[in-house]
Subunit: 355 residues, 2 copies
């Protein structure tokens, strides 16, 4: 949480909050910010006792929506824009769906814009959204690498970057914790008794690939295991890369790996096919963990592939919460990384499926 | 094309068009309806000679935007709503993307709503969209089976169903031609010299499955090939079903198939894995064609899987064109099925990749 005013924001436009905020109300009433806002604005479907509880807490702690937020509220268009700077794909979809659901609960309609990495198109969309007097904006992308911040927005329109990172210290960016996810995967393989764990990675130019390698190394270090430099291979995101990597690691090697951490489920699946075709049993001889928990790919693998889930729906909900709070006058910035979780299937554990 | 007034629409609300329509202008100027509308409304990015050509054609044929459309135009909100009655997935995405792009070209912003088969949620979204005074609406779904029509919209707000079918003769529904796609796949297998072609289908309750089986049968009939009833198997949409179907068709059979038409690429991929593991060579002994042309699944298969492409982007563009024309005052209704295309890869042809 960072409730301090970023120094660059001029105070006449974004007044600092004194006294309790809607976040305090939500915390004390044990509800989400979205629910608190709904209860206080008397909008949306809500159980009556929830509404009463929130209103009681707000009274008790002397919560007063600040004037700026109130005046904004009076002129709110009840619309929010989402710009994807890349085609909508399987990463942005769950995020979008979580956001849409949350905003719909608040009576806020969502404009969707697709800019496909075309700055001119993005500017066109921005102009259009401003013309619609949106209350706030979410920026999302296919990969979480840094991008130039959105510029030209009036200061009262907050922006949240999700699965996207603005190259701007005053921006708020929400990302999955790639490093933590990789640590989880590697710790799990260590817990299965594996010591020769390879990291079969995506292309090195991706920030996520480097963060994950760091997580892998830190888990090995914490377990006192010295990594074999030959066990770190970078390549592409494709199944064929998983098969090629297995050929490199296993064919003719005297000390092949006994565990594989793969940077996505396609790579993981490629390794499973290649291992099966070599008569190497999974998970007995080699345990494998992927990344993304892409159900259609991971669950259909033989054996089903353990994987790291980036919890993109939760990431979308958190982005929605924060945007709602910012529309309500709160300040927020920084890079926030939300935890990944491990989904265990048979590729790393004979019992498997113990999510 | 169906420019007749549906009899049930009251004429005072939706005047019949006399004289040339924007569709005539577009046809004669050899541009899309969207481009024609842009040129006539002096909005959007357009090459100058295109704009002049459209305006010249419009003058020459005496095109006059009708009064109703004009008056609508004056009060247009320049927003359109898209409701998906199922989660956004890989089928609705390319449709949505094509629509968004087209509407953005017209300066129209798109509200996205996700109803996930929840009628109450759908009604909530509808109310919200009406409050935003949308100019038109697109309804889409995960599968193209019939659904109840959207009710309660004022008659001047046109609706297009795409990859979704309204149970209402006055509605306009745009769908892929499943039957034609299956015929293409089967004709291709016949052209490869195959005569014992099996249809490994999805669940029988899907309209698409039945339409595709009809296409398969008609292609066989046209070639004078008698289908073997044992060569039609219905199951699920999963890879494992493809593997199971191969076991049923090949293990212990004296006359196994020499061609497989599979209802999606996951089934197709399952058959390829199962055939490889039996030492049956593809495409030499058995040629295989899938459906959906889901790149990440079909291109990564071993060998790469031939597939039927539903051309969902084109379907989305056509839906956008028609909605724009309807917003401009045109009448349209009926069920329109757009052609699928065959993408040949190595699973059905050793030369492969001759899209």
């Amino acid at each position: 949480m960072d409730d301090d005013l970023p120094p660059q924001v001029s105070k006449d436009l974004r007044p600092a909050r004194h006294g309790p905020t809607i976040r305090d109300v939500a915390r004390l009433a044990e509800v989400s910010i979205g629910t608190a806002s709904k209860a206080l604005n008397a909008s949306g479907r809500l159980r009556e006792e929830t509404r009463e509880k929130v209103q009681r807490v707000a009274r008790e702690i002397g919560y007063r929506p600040n004037d700026m937020a109130q005046s904004l509220h009076r002129t709110r268009s009840m619309t929010v824009g989402i710009i994807s700077t890349d085609s909508f794909g399987r990463f942005t979809l769950p995020i979008f769906q979580a956001l849409e659901e949350q905003f719909a609960d608040q009576g806020i309609a969502v404009f969707m814009c697709n800019a496909t990495d075309d700055p001119e198109r993005e500017q066109q969309h921005l102009d259009q959204l401003l013309g619609k007097r949106i209350d706030g904006m979410v920026v999302t992308a296919r990969r979480a690498d840094k991008r130039p911040p959105i510029v030209g927005l009036p200061p009262h329109i907050p922006v949240v970057y999700v699965f996207s990172q603005a190259d701007d210290p005053d921006a708020l960016s929400l990302l999955p914790d790639d490093e933590g996810g990789a640590r989880l995967a590697t710790e799990h393989l260590l817990a299965q008794g594996r010591r020769r764990i390879a990291h079969i990675a995506g292309p090195e130019r991706f920030e996520a690939v480097n963060l994950r390698h760091r997580g892998y190394l830190s888990a090995l270090a914490a377990a006192g295991v010295t990594p074999d430099p030959a066990h770190y291979l970078t390549g592409s995101w494709a199944e064929s890369w998983g098969r090629d990597a297995v050929a490199q690691l296993f064919d003719g090697s005297a000390t092949p790996p006994d565990g594989l951490f793969c940077d996505n489920d396609q790579i993981g699946r490629g390794t499973l096919d290649a291992l099966r075709e070599r008569g190497i049993s999974v998970p007995e001889q080699v345990a494998v963990v992927g990344f993304d928990n892409w159900e259609v790919m991971a669950a259909a693998a033989r054996p089903p592939l353990s994987s790291i889930d980036m919890n993109l729906s939760a990431l979308g909900r958190e982005a929605g919460e924060r945007l709602l709070a910012m529309i309500d006058g709160e300040q927020d910035r920084g890079v926030l990384r939300l935890p990944c979780t491990l989904v265990v299937r048979e590729s790393s554990n004979p019992q498997g499926n113990s999510k």
